[in-house]
């Protein structure tokens, strides 16, 4: 049992309270993972390309940021 579910309510909750939630809104239901999606080769390649591109851009921003901090007179 996950940490999420360790505090189970063992009493008799009011019926109207129970009915206020949809079945898949219960914590026990929300903790059930959805099935894994199979990504196509093209999708995976696209995600990798985007990730590498963003890493490169992030590195450039961080470099400019750090250089700016170092070169800023205190």
């Amino acid at each position: 049992m996950q940490d999420h579910q360790q505090h189970i309510y063992l009493g008799e909750p009011e019926e109207d309270l129970i009915e206020s939630l949809e079945p898949d809104q219960l914590v026990v239901e929300m903790d059930r993972p959805v099935s894994r999606r199979r990504l196509s080769g093209a999708t995976t390649a696209g995600l990798w390309a985007l990730r590498l591109f963003l890493l490169t851009i992030t590195a450039m921003v961080i470099y400019a940021f750090v250089a700016g901090v170092i070169n800023t007179p205190r």
Binding site: H7, Y9, L17, V27, V28, R36, R51, V61
Partner: protein, 461 residues
């Protein structure tokens, strides 16, 4: 007294009820949902809307945070209202489009954004998304405390006291063990984001000039390309950021919203966008008096900067309201960004991730919530920390990393198995892709120019 629900309102599974698998979190959430069902059943339209607004308003007004308001003010002070007034309004349209997707995915799947990426696309992409979020959130949280510190310093409040006040607010807001309480405290604070509209009115803008700017997007900015791209990318990152996607989807789930609530949740999101755009444009308009009077704005984001610079033109009350607005912007964002951090990490490690849990039942969730704020607060109090540089770059980092978050969101919103008939329509995908491209271009342009200028290749400056 039981409330009869519409026939289409489903009851929880018999097994769950019979097995007694109801947690206190379920009961807390169901209490709030009962009021929603009652309002819907009795046809109380405004009552229903009042119960369901929250995540959209909070995410969009929360993104009008310290660095965002300073970015808008810097835009107005540097370039006037010409190009950036309509540009900022446009970025809020983009934000509403993105946040509507996040809201819809949350209401339909009852899973947070981070949780769905982990489960649907795998742990590798999930952890990359969460690491992106943690990086941008921590940097942004630092800037929120800078905003509080800057705003309070206008009134002579010391930095430790101002920063400590922000931490007390976070601790107070999370202490109730109920999402509704946390949300209403945050909403109460969010109202004060409109102080920037008040300051804009006090600056007595020319209505004809405002109309001209919206109609023509002119005069266009001139001067340094790097500075223009910095301001442009900062404004994009001030409006569309990864934490917003994580936050709103998780908050919608935590609030217990269902597909039947989507119409009200759309109003919530659009209203948040309109109010946030008004406040953001207000900051720009107010600061544009500095542009009109040729005030040097290059270092205004340090110290009490903008408020003091504005004082000769809008008086002490106006400057004080601007400072209070900055404090509010920082304070609300500390709450929402800390929450998005705690939601995301909770979903990543399958730990507790709900404000409807009691403090003792979700120590890690509340610990991360407060811990993230404490770390950021500590950075602000380090003597000699480069607060100005951090403020300027916080939105940039969000801009650079946003396209990845957007691509995953569009994938989830188009996932037929998850979303069924509530998947994205084709036209919305095109708008979503256009937003991703706009954000990507803004971040990339600045990064390339700033990088080559830094290494000494000044061909673009």
């Amino acid at each position: 007294m039981a409330v009869r629900t519409e026939p289409s309102e489903k009851a929880p599974s018999a097994e769950a009820t019979a097995e007694g698998l109801l947690t206190p979190e379920d009961l807390t959430r169901s209490g709030d949902r009962r009021r929603v069902l009652e309002a819907r059943h009795r046809g109380r339209r405004f009552g229903l809307l009042w119960l369901l607004v929250g995540p959209g308003l909070l995410v969009l007004l929360g993104e009008n945070d310290g660095p965002s308001m300073l970015s808008y003010a810097a835009s107005g002070a540097t370039y006037g209202i010409g190009f950036f007034l309509p540009f900022i309004a446009l970025t809020f349209v983009a934000a509403v489009v993105v946040q509507e997707m996040a809201m819809r995915v949350g209401a339909v799947t009852h899973h947070g954004y981070g949780e769905l990426i982990f489960q649907r696309l795998g742990g590798f992409w999930g952890w990359l998304s969460v690491v992106d979020l943690l990086g941008t959130n921590l940097v942004t949280l630092v800037t929120e405390f800078i905003a509080i510190r800057v705003g309070m310093s206008f009134f002579g409040v010391s930095a430790p006291l101002a920063v400590g006040g922000g931490l007390v607010l976070v601790a107070f807001s999370i202490a109730g063990g109920r999402y509704w309480r946390w949300e209403r405290i945050a909403l109460g604070l969010a109202v004060f984001n409109l102080l920037f509209v008040v300051v804009a009115v006090m600056s007595r803008p020319d209505p004809a000039a405002l109309a001209h700017a919206f109609a023509t997007w002119t005069p266009l900015p001139n001067g340094s390309l790097q500075l223009f791209l910095l301001v442009l990318a900062s404004n994009v990152g001030a409006t569309v950021t990864p934490w917003m996607v994580f936050f709103q989807q998780s908050a919608v789930v935590d609030k217990g919203m269902t597909p039947k609530d989507i119409p009200q949740a759309r109003i919530d999101t659009v209203l948040g966008g309109v109010l946030a755009a008004a406040a953001g444009c207000g900051a720009l308009v107010a600061a544009s008096v500095l542009f009109v009077h040729h005030v040097d704005t290059s270092q205004l984001q340090a110290g009490t900067g903008f408020a003091q610079a504005l004082q000769p033109f809008i008086g002490y009350p106006g400057a004080a309201i601007f400072s209070l607005g900055l404090v509010e912007a920082g304070a609300l964002a500390i709450m929402t960004i800390s929450a998005s951090t705690a939601y995301a990490l909770g979903e990543a490690v399958k730990g507790p991730h709900s404000f409807n849990r009691k403090l003792g039942d979700a120590k890690s969730f509340y610990g991360i919530n407060l811990g993230a704020a404490v770390v950021a607060a500590a950075v602000v109090l380090i003597p000699g920390a480069p607060l100005l540089s951090i403020t300027l770059n916080a939105n940039l980092l969000a801009t650079v990393l946003m396209p990845a978050a957007l691509v995953f969101l569009i994938m989830l919103a188009n996932d037929g198995e998850l979303m069924g008939p509530r998947s994205n329509p084709g036209w919305l995908n095109w708008i979503g892709i256009a937003v991703a491209v706009l954000v990507g271009l803004a971040g990339t342009s600045y990064a390339v120019v700033a990088f080559f200028n830094t290494v000494g290749w000044h061909f673009l400056s």
